[in-house]
Amino acid sequence: MFNISTQALFAQLLVGLINGSFYALLSLGLAVIFGMLNIINFAHGALYMMGAFCAYFLLNVLGVNYWLALILAPLLIGGLGAVLERTMLQRLAGLDHLYGLLLTFGLALIIQGLFQNYFGSSGLPYAIPQQLTGGQNLGFMFLPNYRAWVVVFSLTVCLATWFAIEKTKLGSYLRAATENPTLVRAFGINVPRMITLTYGFGVGLAALAGVLSAPINQVRPLMGADLIIVVFAVVVIGGMGSIMGSIVTGFALGILEGLTKYFYPEASNTVVFVIMAIVLMVKPNGLFGRA
């Protein structure tokens, strides 16, 4: 009773959900970093790419499997992020926000340039972990196990992050430090360390997205370069004021993009940008943004 085109529709919806997972993880990281540091992290795409490469090297050089890489890569790349924050970003405190954007743009150029130098522009394959090969026949479509895992796992991580920031004591410190760092410092909380850890955490989320995407998209030096621009548009649409807002916007735009691929493929590259333009005309602060 289901013809080929409904199958294709569901296939594109799944692709949209997968992309939405990456948008959500990346825009969530950007929002968390923006909240604490007041900078927009242009290096986010490059660090996402490093997460994927990290998983690739862990597997092919050290023989570390996917599951460990899922924990190790975000820790390693997040640690690198913390170092970048301590050595460079910290010096920009008090300056115009634009300098943070310019500095991280420079970092993105350096990282992507170095990886392009050594790995060219072609992709390196990363095998789907054994436990997640194969798939389920749902009757109306074939659902590969790995893709289902990516969507479920990303959603879980996003919701856990939301819970940690909005509902726990640590999160309340974080939110307080976002509102008034001086006062929180006066209470004896080490705010600079919190800022470093926040940046590391946001970067870790990007690296996690990189590991998740390695078996789906190949591991390429420029895999994050174009993605980050779409994620910026997602962030402008959602507004960075709300954690849940970034998650919802990320998934929703992924799905919308998937639907566009089915109904009007020519516009699939640009649909997110068009929506951004419309949202800016109607609600300049973004769907979830505060004035």
Binding site: I40, L102, L109, I110, I229, V235, F273
Partner: protein
């Protein structure tokens, strides 16, 4: 109409100094090809210098960091290349057509982008520029990856034979000087003073009764149009229009040129453009290392060298350059 400058605005600069430096700059540029510098290099650098000056008008005098200025450079390039090759228009009309096309795009993008400030403005312009990139990638008339090649060089104004490098050079120099002087005049006009007031304190400018959104939009359209003038001229020089000019890397490059020369200085973007274009020429054989080096310059400038070359010089001489 005059405005009282706020305390952070510097007093009116010594005009005679600037006029002298402008004359000296034009004189030096005019003799460059005569003393053995490759004219094509200077022409290319001049186009980028005008592009960077147009970009600097926004970041330096209105405080708006556009991260999508390549869309104006590239749009004007495609428009003028199409006008020259397919419609057979003379080069002066092609350049005007390209400039107008960029200004119209600037009006549309500006209406959307100036609704947000700060980094949201930067992200919006970047995203809209990426949208234009995908449009040009798919559009038929741009010939995708090939670009529009072999753009003709008909006589300029009907009598200047721009197929001769030296004639073309002086035409390009004249266009650059015209664009540069227009920007110089703008930032020293009452309109320019209001732009600076918006940069320093937008709420105060609003409370003084200025409709700041209109001023910002006017500055954005002017900047887009001048970036278009640079893009259209660049196409007549290089005889091809390609996707390179609309990519985000190009938007980043103009930010770099302006940053290296000095944000918000009059001569900084020109110096920065020459430095970066020269660097690219010398490092062309090193492939992707160029990107890495540009990244390092970005980081070094932001961390240690925020005034840029001309900004530091101006500081050392206690002058406004």
């Amino acid at each position: 109409m005059t405005t009282t400058p706020t305390k952070t605005l510097s007093a009116a600069p010594p005009k005679r100094d600037e006029t002298t430096v402008i004359m000296a700059m034009i004189a030096v540029l005019a003799v460059l090809p005569l003393v053995g510098v490759y004219p094509y290099f200077v022409m290319q650098a001049l186009c980028f210098a005008l592009f960077a000056c147009a970009f600097n008008l926004l970041i330096g005098y209105v405080g708006l960091l556009s991260f999508g200025h390549a869309m104006f450079l590239g749009t004007a390039g495609y428009a003028s290349a199409h006008a020259a090759k397919v419609w057979g228009l003379p080069p002066e009309l092609c350049i005007i057509f390209g400039t107008v096309a960029a200004a119209v795009l600037g009006l549309l993008v500006g209406l959307i982008a100036i609704r947000r400030q700060g980094i949201y403005f930067s992200m919006t312009t970047l995203a809209l520029a990426q949208m234009m990139y995908f449009f040009y990638l798919q559009a038929k008339f741009t010939h995708g990856e090939d670009g529009i090649q072999g753009v003709p060089r008909d006589p300029f104004l009907g009598f200047l034979d721009i197929s001769k490098p030296l004639v073309l050079f002086y035409v390009v120099l004249a266009i650059f000087v015209a664009g540069f002087l227009l920007i110089y005049r703008t930032i020293n006009s009452p309109f320019g003073e209001i732009l600076k007031a918006i940069r320093e304190n937008e709420p105060r400018a609003i409370s003084l009764g200025y409709r700041t959104a209109r001023y910002k939009l006017a500055a954005f359209v002017l900047s887009a149009g001048l970036a278009g003038l640079a893009g259209a001229t660049k196409v007549i020089v290089s005889q091809n229009a390609s996707l390179t000019d609309v990519r985000w890397e190009m938007s980043g490059e103009v930010v770099l040129m302006t940053l290296v020369g000095g944000l918000g200085t009059i001569f900084g973007p020109v110096v920065g453009a020459f430095v970066i274009i020269a660097m690219q020429q010398y490092l062309a054989e090193f492939g992707q290392w160029v990107l890495v080096i540009q990244g390092v310059i970005f980081v070094a400038c932001v961390l240690a060298f925020r005034r840029g070359l001309v900004g530091e010089l101006a500081q050392a001489l206690s002058r406004n350059l």
